[in-house]
Symmetry: D2
Subunit: 337 residues, 4 copies
């Protein structure tokens, strides 16, 4: 950390800052520039709030020079994490495709969709049983019956299951059915939930909050990892911008940025990232071209009658077309699909 | 709802949209303009996702013409809600001042602060016992012991208690100690929590999410009210903007906007809204001048050694100065304090 | 346009709105719903400010149902515009690559770079002679000498020239040297400049403003086209978001969105869109995979000593690598490069 | 400036950075922490692009420790600037009120409005003669005739004139009529215009760009001042946020922030800052309560028939009411009006 003093700071103010830094456990180094005194503070104080120094008299600015996270960082672990679940590798050479409906709606529906996406090349089946909806008057999911159907469909077609956990109280139930816990964008900073998932034994699929910086997203992963669960994959699902034509703006550049800062795998969700069916194909291609380790795609056999998010679901034949296009693109990244 | 067709939409496409609207329970009205056909849809379908129509062939745009909320709206209830708790009225003629430390840290601390803010005119004591922190390595609150101390201090000085509930599992415990449940910005769309607070018997102090629109904030209040608890007050606590000098940008204009759209009281939190002590006074004055029904102010007797958010806490004498200034301002709004 | 009345609007208020709409030249249609009266207004009033109706007594909301632009719209012209300049087609089947340094710095520099990018497959040479810089103390460009050198280099290697015009007063000078006028993000709403470019005889390369919506960007193109110049290409160059790791966030989803709304070609600029060299390759691949009609790439033979934006310039060998990767990707879109 | 190396940076990489810093004219100081080497760079290099160092091998982060501006800073000049024009002081003890129509529309209109606002206490008359409009099909202003009428009305009632200059070519004409040059939000980074205003002899009223950070806004003022014109006042007029209910979000907190960073006066424009008449009063009160040195208010004698922005214009009686309210508030800040 570096504390930059005002150009007119008094000697007493400078000494007061140095004393405070020592009280906080830092060793300090003072250097005097052309116009300002700068105090370097050496020590490891992850929980410190820099503003406590910022408000001291004579202080111009406090600059943190290390990230607030540790376990998620490439500094901590330089090789990329590959999460292995029943033969599927996430974060490896192969681009992973996760697909399925927004919500599980019936046995017929989930069976039909699982068969189609599995044949086309998806290895993970997605589907919601508990749905966070912005209106209290909207469909809220099938609950446990949805979980059971999702598991049955995945098993029938040799797929993994990923499904959302909305609340820490749901962990014991969902753990019986799923292979991967998904957390939603609105829960990215539900710290109690993150902590409890850190004590769970299954991988976590952590969606980025819609207004979160990449650092905040990595801090959320740090919460999970700090409790012992290192099997975290990060999902870019679109951020809020001024643009209203699309529901969200899929932040493709987050993919190479996270790959540089962290060893964790990154998946893109162009369905939520755009909210509109005909934008899903171009954005899925873009995500893979930018280096995503996988994509999560909503597919529905009858979108006009879907109980949630039908407008962003691909039709089965569009999903097959997407798989064909992605197979052309991946060699540019020395990957397979 | 109005469905605007493309200028080149075919008759078959128009009829298909009309058929779909009828299937959804709307009555329809078709009108043909200079360049486009427009279909008006009459009926009450709060849970509908407009995108389901938007993706139909030939549709140019779908425009919702009513708000997605009901109970929070001035259309539903035209007179302003006044919440009465043990003789304190929130939303009435008097501007309510809530004050206290970020976290309860010790008996001495909370007693000293409660005494000071009570003498200066605050009627509600704030203080956190469970703290949502962006780093897993930061102070997380005193837990139940903090709640006990907070209650004791409030009772000693004849104040109400407001404190944060982070998780639905904490409701039974916190309900024993608090007068008002506070929900944090990061939990604004924790729908399970909102629903359970809707079943609780005490008022809810609902902070706006840091990237939430006003409509989303009102929808969160709708979640609480739809379960039967109509005692909701809304708290503007700063939104995220591109500006990094302040921690957040206190959205003062949300105050008159919410007052127009809803009958619920609006409180401003300039402490979190700015994150910097010397910005709290001007922004508290501004909030009251804009018509806020109250302010929530962080005060600490020893900010440099506060365990959380010391940088934004007022010193006792600054709080007294603020009260003096607010007393000058409120007559401009025909209010008292 | 649709005017939605408050549920408690009086008959007099409704009639007053209808009278005002007629005064403004609209024909009207009144329909009465369950809770509200809705007034449809038919007529073409592009310059109208909807807020004039919004503030009338009893009005709940005013909804525009047509875009404010005409000439840029696919409704106006359904087939995609292909701009042809000396044998190069922009917006056609072939993906166009524009490359060169941020600033022209010397004859040797521009010659070396032009040779390298031309050999690798670029057909348009970029380079700045007048530089808009956020600090008045930074390098401001070589001026006319830079234009002369840029033209010479382009001619030597059979390339087109694209260069920025900062001010309407520069148009006569720059028109002597360039094939395409580039306008900068900060000038997207410099309406006098746009108008004068609309009277010029050469194509315009219109960068999106860093906080502009797609609609505002299209309105800027409308300014140019409304003066008679229909040769406009749109350049996505990154928008401002809360993320600070990258300089801007390249909005890849704008590419398919603009292609749906408008017939104009769309180019992506991943160099400004990220601001960091090692993010340019993945984002250029993503842009092309999403359907961009071209990319603009900054390349420098000695980036550490570049006078501007060296940090985002590709090295010649990186540019060659990018071209190899793009050649793998384009068949997925049935295009060539 | 501080260059933070990666924890695994090699000695050669560290030395290479030090060599580069020396080449750039800095003296350096190396310090070795627990996990990282940090290099302090001492020297004054205002025009440097930190990214040039950021992309060097082994560099983790580059941190600027001084502002990029000088002349606008309180470090450069600690006492507040008071701009004196014909007996009116801007930035002094008295809060200045600027008022008038959006556009000058006729002699009768401007005379009537000038009389009303002058009687109520305004000392500066605003009015546009050249209007930047987002649609090419909207009213674009009366041009020189508008300037002439504005001057005549101001002289008649003993007021100053402030009016917008859209383009550097308009400076000679407008200088004949105005007392203060206003620059619009969309021109905040029109660097050629700023530079030319820096050579003009009259004060500049510099509106903040709608997505500009405070630092960028101050850099725009630095452009003007670096050419010799130190009479700059800053106008907060609303920033773009996700909220769509108001046209912009007036950033009240910018007022105390700018007062801390700079010695220049700050004016608020709640008319453009909200875009809706009934939000102007509360936001004007808030701006003054937060410490603004003045407010600019749009007033119209017949808003429904205004040629631009009628929806945000106050009626004469509302303006008088606002003046009454502000007179109650200003003593809380030890000011007069």
């Amino acid at each position: 950390m570096v504390v930059v003093m005002e150009s007119h700071a008094t000697e007493a103010q400078i000494e007061s800052v140095i004393a405070r830094l020592k009280e906080l456990g830092f060793s300090t180094h003072r250097s005097t520039g052309v116009t300002r005194t700068v105090i370097g503070a050496i020590g490891d104080k992850t929980g410190l709030d820099e503003r406590d120094l910022q408000v001291m008299d004579g202080v111009h600015e406090v600059v943190r020079i290390s990230e607030p996270y540790k376990l998620v960082s490439r500094t901590f672990r330089s090789e990329s994490t590959v999460i292995k679940i029943k033969g599927v590798e996430i974060g490896g050479e192969k681009v992973v495709v996760m697909a399925g409906p927004c919500s599980v709606e019936s046995r017929d529906q989930i069976m039909a969709i699982a068969e189609c996406v599995s044949k086309a090349g998806a290895t993970v089946l997605r589907g919601g049983a508990f749905k966070p909806r912005s209106s209290p008057y909207s469909f809220q999911g099938m609950g446990e019956e949805g979980l059971r159907l999702l598991r049955e469909a995945a098993d029938r077609f040799g797929m993994l299951v990923v499904t959302e956990v909305m609340d820490r109280s749901q962990i014991p139930l969902i753990t019986e059915y799923t292979d991967i816990f998904q957390t939603g964008a609105r829960n990215m900073q539900n710290f109690n939930l993150l902590r409890d998932l850190g004590k769970a034994r299954k991988p976590v699929f952590l969606k980025r909050g819609m207004a979160a910086t990449i650092e905040e997203w990595l801090m959320a992963a740090e919460y999970v990892m700090s409790e012992g669960n290192h099997q975290v994959m990060l999902c870019e699902r679109g951020i809020r911008t001024f643009e209203t034509y699309t529901r969200n703006t899929l932040d493709i550049s987050a993919i190479p940025v996270v790959h540089k800062l962290s060893h964790l795998p990154v998946i893109a969700d162009p369905s939520h990232g755009t909210g509109i069916r005909d934008k899903v194909l171009p954005m899925a291609r873009a995500a893979v071209a930018a280096g995503a380790d996988g994509v999560m795609i909503e597919v529905h056999n009858d979108p006009p009658h879907a109980l949630s998010d039908g407008a962003q679901a691909l039709l089965p034949e569009q999903f097959e077309e997407l798989m064909r296009e992605l197979r052309i693109i991946v060699p540019a990244l020395n990957r397979t699909i």
